[in-house]
């Protein structure tokens, strides 16, 4: 709990600090925080599906659908667990609502999936 409050104060100080002083609290934060994070899990990576210029519109339904198909076609071509296909899986998981993926998985199992696989 003390950890959290300390970090809050520091971040507030960062917000008001002049640009030159920004680094200082960052260092203090890291050293105090590392022990806490280290014995939990490795630091998470901020990474998601990139912008795809085939889908520049607000409506991203087709983006998600295409990524889902790309993954399953890749698996069909390269075999289950191929490392090249993992990134497509990451992309569609980021883009598709969970309910859609569940429904499509079900449809694939029943052989009623509407997309080209």
């Amino acid at each position: 709990m003390a950890e959290v409050t300390k970090e809050k104060i520091l971040s507030l100080a960062q917000q008001y600090a002049l640009p030159g002083n920004e680094d200082k609290p960052e260092v203090a934060e890291e050293s105090s925080d590392q022990e806490v994070v280290a014995d939990e899990t490795p630091e998470i990576k901020l990474e998601t599906a990139p912008v795809d210029f085939r889908f520049p519109t607000t409506n991203q339904s087709r983006h998600c659908f295409t990524r889902y198909i790309e993954h399953h076609r890749c698996v069909a071509a390269k075999g289950e667990g191929a490392s090249e296909c993992e990134k497509f899986a990451k992309y569609y998981r980021s883009l598709c609502p969970g309910e859609w993926v569940d429904r499509w998985n079900e449809q694939r199992e029943n052989g009623t999936f509407p997309g080209p696989l």
Binding site: S11, L12, Y16, V37, L46, T48, N59, S94, L95, P97
Partner: protein, 255 residues
């Protein structure tokens, strides 16, 4: 300059609706700043036109009053003035249109690659948030529902009908993609301070991107009023430093 403004001009930035509020909430994204600037730009023309038109109106009523001016004029045509009152308004409209279109298209533009994707799914009558960037299978590992805290349960200091049990935690100063969809009826995901208002349509996923420039808690409400409880599914976004976001995610992934 910003530092001085933050310290002396504004005591606390307003990120939630206030009683009797007339203006906008304080901007936390470049988009909202742009919207507010456009509003002020247009207001300049608006006031100018208002003053001019009311001056003309009052002047005409004063000078051509039926007691002082009993015989009416019968002018039905005037080429010069007709050209003038066509050209001038179109120039004014152009000056309003240029910044307006610039803003409109920049809001649509998705230029940079986002760092995280958050899915906001509207339900009757709550919201589900999915953080799926950290999944290694189709199993959802970081998903939670966000319900409003009912009036009877709210604690001192919490806003009535605005607070939720699980806030959307996002990293500040990071490009975020938000995918908005709905599982049943139309909903809307709107946060005034972030300049976001995006409809949630079942079967369609709408994308919007935000860059929260400062840490804080931002409040919004459903803006697609289509049923009994739409007023009771608010949105609370909590922007934290990246580091805190990282530990928040890893804590939830373990749990």
């Amino acid at each position: 300059m910003i530092l001085i403004e933050r310290l002396f001009l504004t005591i606390a930035l307003s990120d939630a609706a206030e009683p009797w509020q007339l203006g906008s909430q304080d901007a936390a994204t470049p988009m909202m700043q742009g919207i507010m600037d456009l509003h002020h730009d247009i207001f300049f023309f608006l006031i100018l036109i208002l003053v001019f038109v009311s001056w003309m109106l009052v002047r005409a009523l004063w000078h051509f009053h039926y007691q002082t001016n009993p015989i009416p004029q019968r002018i039905v045509h005037g080429t010069t003035i007709e050209i003038l009152w066509t050209i001038f308004p179109s120039i004014i409209l152009m000056f309003i249109a240029i910044p307006s279109f610039a803003l409109l298209y920049s809001m649509d533009e998705v230029v940079v690659d986002p760092a995280i994707t958050i899915k906001a799914i509207g339900h009757q009558w709550y919201r589900t948030y999915e953080y799926s960037d950290y999944n290694s299978s189709d199993e959802q590992s970081l998903t939670f529902d966000s319900y409003m805290i009912p009036e009877d349960d709210s604690e001192l200091g919490q806003s009535r009908l605005l607070e939720v049990d699980n806030r959307v935690v996002v990293p500040a100063k990071t490009y975020i993609r938000i995918i908005i969809t709905s599982a049943d009826v139309l909903h809307s995901w709107a946060v005034p301070s972030l300049g976001v208002k995006c409809d949630a349509v079942p079967g369609r996923s709408n994308q919007t991107s935000i860059l929260v420039q400062r840490e804080g808690v931002y409040y919004g409400q459903c803006s697609e009023i289509r049923g009994t409880n739409h007023a009771f599914m608010p949105i609370v976004v909590e922007a934290v430093p990246r580091k805190e976001y990282g530990s928040w995610v890893s804590n939830l992934l373990i749990a």
